[in-house]
Assembly symmetry: C2
Homo-oligomer: 359 residues x 2
């Protein structure tokens, strides 16, 4: 084989609401310009635009986002992606299986979320290219992020025996530990966050599924056998895919295989998982405020103040995030942004009780 | 003379912006429903709708608000008002002079702002009827409000010798004292806030103007001589009125005459002069929040949360006022609402610097 290039597989099916009111099911986080001029998806695609290293990306998403995704690729001159349109949301194991079964077995797939921030693209690409030989040898490589806080919302990977400089055997996956455990991981070292970025050959992933989740593989294979293909869009059979079990790639494969490696990378990563993390990754002004849009801050301190349109004036407030979107306004104490989901649940309940149906 | 009724004169020319973003020059405070279903103007007119005591009101306002004012009277079945349309804003002394010169000299005028809250209408009307005989005797009666804090933004009236039960000669007017003085007034007693509500005969006011501000009287007389009259609308001559000096009724007359009486009334008064006072006059829920519009509060405490349309979600914040209006959002620490004016000034400067002109 000549020096093979890598196929980026961008997972873009998420419909997260933790960045409500900006993100909505109709306009999920990856389609928003949250950290600069470009959307998260555009930034994800631009990281892998070097044609000497990467093929044009495949994007696994849903049909309702397809037009917008193609438009976002076109508007910044990115190579046209192939879209694999999930007929239903079945979490990451089936989503990645769609790509792995479409690809030739020896193809290296770089699987990545479309809605995470990576500030240091060079470090990211260097880690990917350095891990590629191991992936060709059959290792499934995950890229770990050094924890800087005892986060209980993420998965952790424990490093085992070293495989080569910068690469360790993954000894154990721990999903969302309690605070005490997370604090011990942070204090003891040797644990990295699982950022959901993977490099492996299509064949290695299919083999692992065959062994650890054969039902998922069978359903996805059947849905692809009945797929409709229209230009650069692939629409797997809906009934077969709907019958598939919903499971994450971590639970389905990573936690079971003994051929998992972890490559910790310091790459300025954030999942932008809440308005709090958006504040933390922002560039604060002299008063500690992170501002976006038409905003006036008068004696406001350490605030995230963001408007998509209407004028926002903040006076005398501290440690507050204010998000003004079309049709809704969120005001949340910094540090409590994870509660947005809870608030939206209450709203849905209230709306259901009023008979106007869920949000 | 038979028992004469009283002519309400409602001053409705204000274009205050302290309740921005709800109040704007196009939709000033008096035209907004800030404390209940009715607008401040409607509530002011309803207080004086007893036909056995009051004539149909005269409203002194500007031409651009005339249609909306007539519509607001009509929509709640109030008697049709006569509108006196100020060609320019010249403060209260000329505004009241317009009404006083239109009225017969012996007519009692009850002059009142259109944008203040009075919760206890009975106490208000009782004070007015009880003061009426003194007004017929030539006294100019002001209705004072007992201070409950050392407010530095109001005028104070010092009570002098008692004239009758509930009525004192006004010994001195003090406009916007410094904090130390206001604290002394509060501690020492005998001082009331000047609420801008007056009862006097048209003739007494004209005589006082003749003596203390003859130029104002002359300008207003000339503007009325050239007035256009169209149904219930009176439009004084613009050039003559524009030439008039701008002065408050307090500075022009009240501070100089020795025939001023003060009737302190406990009537649940608030000028609703800022979002802070709107919070204070509101009905807080169990968490101390005053809510209006489509609002969800989750662990918010002691907040004013108000939306004119968009959904507002507040999580974990305390002592904050959030006002969501069409096209703008204000977030202000409670206690700092007076700074809205400062913020709007900064916005005007910024807009002027960008070349898009003042707000």
């Amino acid at each position: 084989l000549p020096h093979a290039t890598i196929r980026p597989v961008i997972l873009s099916g998420g419909a997260g609401i933790r960045l409500w009111p900006l993100s909505t099911p109709e306009r999920p986080k990856q389609l928003l310009a949250l950290a600069g001029e470009r959307t998260m998806l555009q930034m994800a695609a631009q990281r892998v635009c070097d044609e000497s290293l990467f093929e044009a990306p495949w994007v696994v998403t849903s049909a309702r986002l397809a037009d917008e995704i193609e438009a976002q690729f076109a508007s910044c001159g990115l190579r046209e992606p192939t879209l694999i349109l999930e007929p239903a949301a079945r979490n990451t194991a089936p989503a990645v299986a769609l790509a792995a079964l479409e690809a030739a077995a020896q193809t290296l797939l770089l699987v990545m979320p479309s809605d995470h921030l990576i500030r240091d693209t060079d470090a990211y690409i260097a880690a990917v290219t350095s891990a590629a030989p191991h992936a060709r040898d059959g290792w499934m490589v995950t890229f770990g992020i050094a924890p800087d806080r005892p986060e209980t919302g993420y998965g952790y990977i424990k490093r085992g025996a070293p495989l080569s400089p910068g690469l360790w055997r993954a000894e154990r996956f721990v999903e969302k530990p309690d605070l005490e455990t997370a604090q011990a991981f942070l204090a003891g070292g040797g644990h990295d966050w699982n950022g959901g970025i993977f490099l492996f050959s299509a064949g290695a992933y299919v083999e692992a599924l065959e062994r650890f989740a054969p039902d998922i593989l069978a359903s996805v294979r059947q849905s692809l056998a009945g797929a409709a293909r229209d230009g650069r869009r692939i629409s797997p059979d809906a009934a077969a895919f709907a019958a598939c079990r919903s499971q994450s790639i971590d639970h389905a494969v990573m936690e079971h295989s003994d051929r998992i490696a972890v490559a910790p990378v310091s790459m300025g990563w954030s999942d932008l998982g809440s308005w709090d993390s958006l504040y933390e990754t922002g560039a604060p002004d002299g008063e500690g405020n992170v501002l976006a849009g038409e905003v006036l801050a008068l004696d406001a301190r350490d605030c995230l103040l963001r408007s998509e349109g209407p004028l926002l004036v903040a006076i005398g407030v501290e440690d507050v995030s204010v998000i003004v979107a079309d049709g809704a306004v969120l005001v949340v104490k910094r540090g409590q942004a994870q509660r947005v989901k809870e608030a939206l649940g209450l709203l849905d309940q209230a709306r259901a009780a009023r008979g106007s149906g869920p949000q």
